[in-house]
Symmetry: C2
Subunit: 118 residues, 2 copies
């Protein structure tokens, strides 16, 4: 079974719609990097059972993203924020007007704060 | 039945998880502003049936937002973008440096573009 790194991102968006069993197995596998055998041992489910729960969960997450596309929307916002941050830094470096300095600093603060919001 | 205006927003986020019947009835009611009686007549379902489909849909959308909170996350992004846009406009107005002018214009373009992304 090859790990799909996007799954971690999709779990962040839609994980609460999975069953507890699916979520726990996927969290151990994708976020805590445990092996299928380790998860099976910890949870008292067979290795095959863990494998199936993860596969079903992956499919569900992918179907949710296909329908709703919210992870893609957030990713587009993130890219836009990165472009804004770069530009604000350049403007801050090149600015020589004391009058603008405070507003540019505030703009930098706001664009940095996006990380807490997204 | 009183209209909950947040429902339109939640439909934009999670509407694709509703059944077609629910989605269509809610779309006519919330987005096209038809009455329950009009929707009943158009769809050949009883007024009570339309009412129930809408109520079930509303409950489902609210449960999805309670679990996932993605509409709230996007709303927070929107508020942050509004603050950034205001500040960029102020900076643009107050700037006197020709050197910064292009970068500030580009920043304005990027912050305006958020509307297409969000």
């Amino acid at each position: 079974m090859s790990k799909n790194l996007n799954i971690s991102i999709l779990m962040d968006f839609y994980g609460q719609l999975l069953t507890d069993k699916q979520y726990d197995a996927m969290d151990l596998y994708y976020n805590q990097d445990l092996s299928l055998a380790e998860i099976a041992e910890d949870s008292g489910i067979s290795r095959q059972g863990v494998h199936d729960a993860i596969k079903r969960g992956e499919k569900q997450l992918e179907e949710l993203e296909e329908k709703l596309g919210l992870a893609a929307r957030f990713a587009a916002v993130s890219r836009q924020v990165e472009r804004i941050k770069t530009l604000v830094e350049e403007i801050e470096e090149e600015n020589t007007s004391p009058k603008l300095q405070d507003k540019i600093a505030e703009l930098k603060r706001l664009s940095d704060e996006f990380e807490n919001v997204i």
